[in-house]
Symmetry: C2
Subunit: 143 residues, 2 copies
DNA sequence: ATAGTTGCAAAATATTTGCATTTAT
DNA sequence: ATAAATGCAAATATTTTGCAACTAT
């Protein structure tokens, strides 16, 4: 996302463009999959850019409110976010042991949901499906 | 769940029956819907029974491992659990206008999820599906 | 008798907040 | 000029843990 679009998004909400916010935005969008605040913060430090932990947390909230990212889950290792801006819909499997999150998408699943809604006269606009359990690795460890 | 069944469950795991664990079990099962550790703890105190916060956390872990309850989500207010023992599963439709929640169940949906898990080597133990949108009533009002 | 469990208080972890300083507009 | 954002350190909130005392088996 370029600087101008971001500035506009912020303006609409009476907020200001800052270097820190831009750095955080870019890092957040750079993740193809999932990320958490602490990892993002450490990576920003490593690349020499500057932004405090507090700003990371504050900016991630802003980005969520703008619809640029979304909260996927809270785990023992912190909140997991993912980019929504320019990404297509999918669902999640969450390993309750190691906190790993797998993405999946099923056209069939989507279709059935549409049908269920139709039957009930419900106009669905979005959904969240999270399957919890044990991933392949942790499943083996359990035995 | 009665004392004997619970004792047996614990025995199988080399664990002991205690008054504290029983109080916590009963309270956990008393919730029809969702609950969190802190609420459960405070309600136990209020009713005069005794069990420390530490025991609540420790016992909820045990109950989860026994499959009596399951972790539904982590939120800013703590971990949310729900009873699984003797309950049947369903999903939710949430009307974003009036806040109404409709429950539904689809065998088809369950089957497909099982298949998806199998393909990924994931051992699913539970899931949450929330469809958001407009219920019949609010849909009419919109027009 | 002994191995597991409890309660307490301290520690660990993730996140939020107050405030003085800096910065975008 | 001024209203908003920053960084820091302190505060919060939830959960975990070490340990001495207690208790189920």
């Amino acid at each position: 996302m370029d600087k101008d679009i971001f500035t506009k998004l912020l303006r609409e909400r009476g907020q200001r463009f800052t270097k820190e916010r831009f750095v955080i935005l870019q890092k957040a969008l750079s993740y193809d999959g999932h990320f958490d605040p602490e990892t993002l913060y450490l990576q920003i430090r490593k690349t020499g850019s500057k932004a405090s932990r507090a700003s990371v947390y504050r900016t991630l909230s802003v980005l969520r409110e703008c619809g640029v990212i979304q909260q996927v889950a809270k785990t023992e290792h912190g909140t997991v976010y993912e980019r929504t801006y320019g990404h297509r819909h999918h669902d999640h499997m969450l390993c309750v042991q190691c906190g790993d999150i797998l993405e999946f998408y099923s056209e069939e699943l989507e279709k059935i949901q549409e049908n269920i809604c139709k039957k009930q006269g419900f106009q669905g606009s979005s959904h969240t499906l999270e399957i919890r359990g044990y991933c392949k690795k942790c499943r083996k460890k359990k035995k």
